[in-house]
């Protein structure tokens, strides 16, 4: 049984970059613990000598020439941004 405490949930929430209120942490700890308990049964499966399956697509990823195939679409790239300036995305100040 793995049980997540509030501190662990606070850390996961930060790693996920999702703001969670103090009360929310308690509720999430309960929900996430229930989900982890549910998946706990995987531990009993014998996977000795079994490679992880990362893709069911039975093919080698194709290679292509390293060349520019599109571009000059600055307006399209920016058209859905919440804030732009001079052809750039605007972010909060990150350097003091």
């Amino acid at each position: 049984m793995s049980s997540l405490d509030k501190e662990t949930v606070r850390r996961i929430a930060f790693l996920s970059r999702i703001n969670v209120s103090e009360e929310g942490l308690g509720e999430l700890a309960g929900d996430l613990t229930r989900i982890l308990d549910f998946v706990e049964e995987l531990q009993e499966v014998d996977v000795e000598g079994c490679d992880p399956l990362t893709s069911v697509a039975d093919l080698t990823l194709p290679m292509r020439k390293d060349e520019v195939t599109d571009g000059n679409i600055q307006q399209k790239v920016l058209s859905n941004a919440p804030m732009t300036d001079a052809g750039c995305f605007v972010v909060p100040k990150v350097v003091e």
Binding site: V20, L28, L32, V56
Partner: protein
């Protein structure tokens, strides 16, 4: 004239070809139906003007003697497919107002084949759910009602697509299936839903949930319609490196009705404890129908079935946590920021306000199982169990041509049920998730009614890229079960 909204895709195609009506007439009838059924909330965005423009263009194209596979046929598009210039939300607040500058490959293929878009169908937020109750744009209501008349869920995540087809608000709809999101709502709404083999349809331009599982497919009134529509959606696409470079067969030609000598596997592990008697009976009836049609029914074993849900609820959230990292309040979507906020504050506030509860839970579970110290115990372990599940199917398909099982463990449930515990909701996917993990095609066909008078579906699972067998056997089930029931008010 018959009500054009009662037609199947195949009937409408043939009627258009004969000149019985035009695409504009067909489209207008569906726009009226869309307006009449707004109480079901099946669409997030209706696009009647675009639909009529497309229909006019289609009629003109046909007049010149040029008709595609779905020429002039009005359909709904799940609001997970990017559609150029038309709001695409993934049913999330964070994408409210997002208008893609490009068209997904699947919708491009459909439109090139002549299909007309009526609007963008509702779904669970980011396709995460089995009830369509996690949409920011409200619940979808199943057109079917139980005896007590309560509002029922349409299933999820492609709940709007399923409800739209069942209620005659579209001739057909696109869906996407990650762990059952086409098949389970098809079963709940009494329609046909086909999840193709992973790689059959391009994922390019579909809002990503779990990239190793996501696959687009048709949701239709009949098996023949599913064959027609898959043919218009599928095909290799250089823009999706996991899209398979294989030819698209004529799926409709596979519907010969002849399954004599075929071997159909019955997986004993799907006879789960607490299975409702009516689901067992539905399954037994399906077995009898296939046997009567000349198929040989054999028992197969898929020993790791009971671990599929646990595997899925590690793998899918892990991939989701990575995919949904792109919603950063910077490049598109909602931004929440106050004076003096740091970059992290802005990310955290935007994502807290933009994502609903279930999406937040899945991102966090995914983040946890991928985090240092837990990666091997959870994520890597799940990937190894996934291979076991994959191998189970490969072994079974060494001896059988297709597998028959129920689609879901119950009929549609009331809105609000199963909401108290996330795990309870996950159990709805118990029969659909294994085929998703193995990347196999799965078809849900309505074959009976529950004691409450609600539709129930059976599922056929096939070998990779053998949708043809699944469709052929599905066609036989459809004919034998003669499922003609319709939701109240939809009787032809």
């Amino acid at each position: 004239m018959t009500d054009l909204t009662n037609l199947t895709l195949a009937e409408a195609r043939d009627g258009l070809a004969k000149g019985d009506y035009t695409s504009v007439e067909l489209t207008e009838a569906h726009i009226k139906s869309m307006e009449a059924h707004r109480n079901l909330n099946a669409y997030i965005t209706e696009t009647p003007d675009k639909a009529l423009d497309m229909a006019k263009a289609s009629d003109a194209k046909r007049a010149k003697g040029d008709a595609g596979k779905m020429e002039g046929l009005p359909i709904a598009i799940k609001d997970l497919f990017c559609t150029e210039g038309v709001q695409t939300t993934a049913a999330s607040h964070i994408l409210e107002g997002f208008k893609p500058e490009y068209e997904s490959t699947v919708t491009t293929n459909l439109f090139n084949n002549g299909a007309v878009m009526l609007g963008k169908a509702n779904l669970d937020e980011f396709a995460m759910g089995s009830s369509n109750t996690s949409s920011y744009y409200g619940n979808v209501i199943n057109p079917w009602k139980g005896k007590d008349g309560k509002d029922l869920v349409p299933g999820g995540s492609s709940g709007g697509s399923a409800a739209a087809v069942a209620a005659g608000m579209a001739l057909a709809a696109t869906g996407t299936d990650t762990g059952g999101s086409i098949r389970q709502p098809a079963s709940y709404c009494g329609i046909v839903g086909l999840k193709p083999t992973y790689g059959r349809c391009s994922r390019w331009g579909i809002v990503a949930f779990a990239s190793s599982l996501d696959q687009a497919g048709p949701m239709t009134k009949t098996v023949r319609d599913a064959a027609i529509m898959l043919g218009a959606m599928a095909g290799h696409d250089a823009k999706d490196s996991t899209s398979a470079p294989v030819a698209v067969p004529d799926f409709e030609a596979a519907l010969t009705g002849d399954i004599r000598g075929m071997k159909i596997g019955i997986p004993k592990e799907y006879r789960v404890d607490n299975m409702p008697e009516e689901i067992n009976k539905l399954w037994d009836n399906g077995i009898a129908m296939l046997r009567d049609a000349g198929a040989e029914v054999v028992d197969v074993t898929l020993p790791h079935t009971k671990y599929a849900l646990g595997t899925y609820y590690i793998v899918a959230p892990a991939e989701a946590s990575s995919n949904l990292a792109r919603y950063d309040g910077l490049r598109y979507g909602q931004r929440v920021m106050d004076e003096g906020d740091s970059l992290d504050d802005m990310y955290m506030k935007s994502r807290a306000a933009g994502f609903g509860k279930e999406v937040q839970r899945r991102i966090m579970i995914g983040t946890y199982v991928l985090s240092a110290g837990y990666y091997d115990a959870y994520y890597n372990k799940a990937l190894k169990v996934r291979r076991r599940i994959y191998q189970d199917f490969a072994t079974a398909f060494g001896t059988v041509d297709a597998i028959l099982a129920p689609t879901a463990p119950s009929a549609a449930f009331a809105i609000g049920e199963n909401e108290d515990d996330p795990v309870k909701m996950y159990l709805n996917d118990v029969f659909t998730v294994p085929a998703s993990l193995a990347g196999l095609p799965g078809l849900s066909v309505p074959t009976g009614l529950s004691s409450e008078g609600l539709p129930l579906g059976l599922q056929l699972i096939g070998k990779p890229f053998d949708e043809e067998t699944v469709l052929r056997v599905g066609g036989v089930l459809e004919t034998a079960s003669n499922f003609t029931a319709k939701p109240a008010g939809q009787e032809g």
